[in-house]
């Protein structure tokens, strides 16, 4: 997948509102593979909605969105599964971890269907993020910040053309923010993937090719 395009897209709940000057909604937008994008937004401007449309689990919008020119509403369930395991790596804002599973089990649940990282690589990433000793702890017993780091590792456990991050560092300090930025940038560089990151203020410290205001 080389591009994600938005044509006149608008969340259904925003229909009829006056133009707010968004650089995403009701515009022509193109995200290209290999480039880094930051979408800065205030709360309630449809940031998570945008991510859920791109990831295919919500369709309550008007206009069109396309992968390489193909309307994503035409994608079959099987094609979406392929998108989610091979083309777009997604970190949801609410992380969507399974609290009863351990940190490692949560990550393996993703990695076992993609086979992208070895156990050693996963352990190394967790240690890099300072959660090496939490590998076998149930996620329910981790702090929000620790959970966010587990979720980031899980996100990177797949081949991809785009890494889609919804407020990836909202619960991280500057030091961890920097580590995450480095880790994500490295993974994107390795795969030639693009990065689309949203933020309400605490930006992930990656170099950005283009910034959009939502």
């Amino acid at each position: 997948m080389n591009s994600i395009t938005l044509h006149n897209t608008l969340p259904a709940v925003f229909a009829g509102r006056p133009d707010t000057g968004s650089e995403i909604w009701l515009r022509e937008v193109k995200f290209e593979r290999g480039k880094h994008y930051l979408i800065s937004a205030e709360s309630g401007t449809g940031k998570s909605s945008l991510c859920s449309y791109i990831y295919g689990y919500r369709i309550d919008y008007s206009g069109t969105m396309a992968f390489d020119g193909r309307d994503i509403k035409q994608l079959s369930v099987d094609e979406w599964c392929k998108v989610r395991t091979h083309h777009i790596a997604y970190l949801a804002q609410d992380m969507r971890l399974f609290p009863e599973l351990t940190a490692m089990e949560n990550i393996q649940l993703k990695n076992s269907i993609t086979g992208h990282k070895s156990t050693q690589e996963i352990v190394a990433m967790m240690e890099q993020l300072g959660i090496g000793e939490k590998i076998d702890s149930p996620v329910a017993r981790l702090s929000i910040g620790q959970q966010q780091r587990v979720a980031i590792v899980r996100t990177l456990c797949q081949p991809c053309d785009f890494i889609l991050l919804d407020e990836p560092v909202s619960h991280l300090d500057d030091a961890n923010n920097a580590i995450v930025a480095q880790m994500v940038s490295d993974e994107a560089a390795r795969q030639g993937a693009g990065i689309i990151s949203t933020s309400v203020g605490n930006n992930v410290k990656i170099t950005v090719d283009k910034e959009f205001k939502l």
Partner: protein, 410 residues
């Protein structure tokens, strides 16, 4: 990168760990018990019907089922006054018009002199002869293969179906008192049999062959084409109405039919009607039991459905999160489908085992009544079909429910 199989297993293990939460063992046990009881009742009823049925069916494969032989009652007054026991064409037409009647066949008898010789002990052995009679009924009431049941004037040999009573009379009455050997049905079929036919200026001796014995036909039956040929050749040419009719009926236990026969003073040969009634009640009782079993099975099916819906409802968030990770709805469904298939398979096997045990319990009683029981295949096939239907219903419901989680609400 670790190997693929290991990954598959670990993902299945993790899925199970994740999704087994909220599974209620009590609900599943409740479903399994209800399902087991329902299925066992159904297949036990089917099996019992299979086992008991042979008692009601005589094993005369060459006579079609569900027919009656009727005659007019012979009264003393009728005998003295020269009354007529024949069925007039109007009476026959009236019977044919009855709703319970499918087909009427007339018995025709020989119109010439007939003498039969039964050779016992081969050439030079003793032989036994008697004056005899023949009757015939239309071939469509007889189920022997064509080659056995026809007459060819160029190579005359007369096939005969004989009342089993005649053989009993010979064996237990005549042979015993005369010091003759008792003969089995198998041997009788091979005993040389000769019929001498005389009348209308013709005189011939023809060979005969017994093709079967009947409990129901209390007479000696020959093919209709032979009867026609022989009556033309030896007979007087006078047409007579039949005094016996063979009637194919919808159900031998029919009350309306019984009333009709009583009203007209017709008699039914044999105990077919009593048997018909008993068989009717057997079928009725078995049907009721099967319906009860099916209702229980259906209820258990809905218990399982509710249980699964509840489970899916409680696990909605998890299931959606799995879909977001890239698991397909099919992969996510598989955990619950495997569970349902395992439970249903266990219920199926248990139900069949219980059915076989129950059968082993009642079979000795049936054996005392002279039947070794029917096949168990049908009941097992019925069990498999019912379980396959229930399982298919479960699987479709699970898949639909999980597919519905694909698009999440805003």
């Amino acid at each position: 990168m670790s190997n693929k199989t290991g990954n598959d297993n670990s993902s299945k293990g993790l899925m199970w760990k994740l999704l087994k939460k909220h599974i209620s063992p009590a609900q599943l046990v409740g479903f399994s018990l209800a399902s087991l009881i329902g299925l066992t009742i159904v297949i036990l009823a089917v099996q019992f019907h299979q086992d008991v049925r042979p008692i009601f069916n005589d094993e005369e494969s060459f006579i079609k089922k569900d027919y009656l032989i009727i005659t007019k009652a012979v009264s003393t007054a009728g005998t003295l006054l020269g009354g007529n026991n024949e069925f007039s064409p109007e009476a026959i037409a009236d019977i044919e018009a009855q709703p319970w009647c499918r087909k009427v066949g007339k018995f025709s008898s020989n119109d010439y002199s007939l003498y039969a010789t039964l050779g016992v002990g081969g050439v030079g052995g003793r032989s036994m002869g008697t004056m005899l009679f023949f009757e015939s009924i239309p071939t469509e009431f007889i189920d022997v293969t064509d080659s056995d049941w026809k007459f060819n004037p160029d190579r005359p040999e007369i096939p005969v179906i004989m009342s089993r009573d005649y053989l009993s009379l010979y064996n237990f009455g005549f042979a015993a008192s005369q010091g003759l050997p008792q003969i089995s049905e198998g041997i009788v079929s091979r005993v040389p049999l000769e019929f001498t036919l005389r009348g209308n200026g013709n005189y011939d001796t023809l060979k005969g062959r017994i093709v079967g014995f009947s409990n129901r036909l209390n007479t000696i039956v020959v093919p209709e084409d032979f009867m026609r040929w022989s009556n033309e050749r030896y007979g007087s040419g006078i047409d007579r109405n039949p005094s016996r009719l063979i009637v194919e009926v919808n159900s031998p236990g029919d009350v309306k039919m019984q009333d009709y026969l009583n009203d007209h003073g017709y008699q039914v040969a044999g105990d077919k009607m009593q048997q018909g009634k008993a068989q009717y009640f057997l079928t009725l009782v078995v049907t009721i039991v099967i319906i009860v079993g099916i209702i229980i099975s259906l209820l258990s099916f809905f218990v399982l459905m509710l249980s699964i819906y509840l489970l899916l409802q409680k696990n909605t968030k998890k299931l959606q999160d799995l879909l977001l990770l890239g698991y397909s709805p099919a992969q996510v469904s598989r955990t619950y489908i495997s569970m349902v298939v395992a439970i249903n398979a266990a219920v199926l096997v248990l139900a069949i085992i219980i059915m076989l045990l129950a059968r082993a319990y009642y079979l000795p009683t049936l054996q005392a009544l002279g039947t070794s029981g029917g096949t168990v295949i049908i009941a097992i096939v019925v069990a498999i079909i019912i379980m396959a239907l229930i399982t298919t219903g479960n699987i479709i419901a699970i898949k639909r429910k999980i597919n519905a989680l694909w698009i999440q609400g805003a």
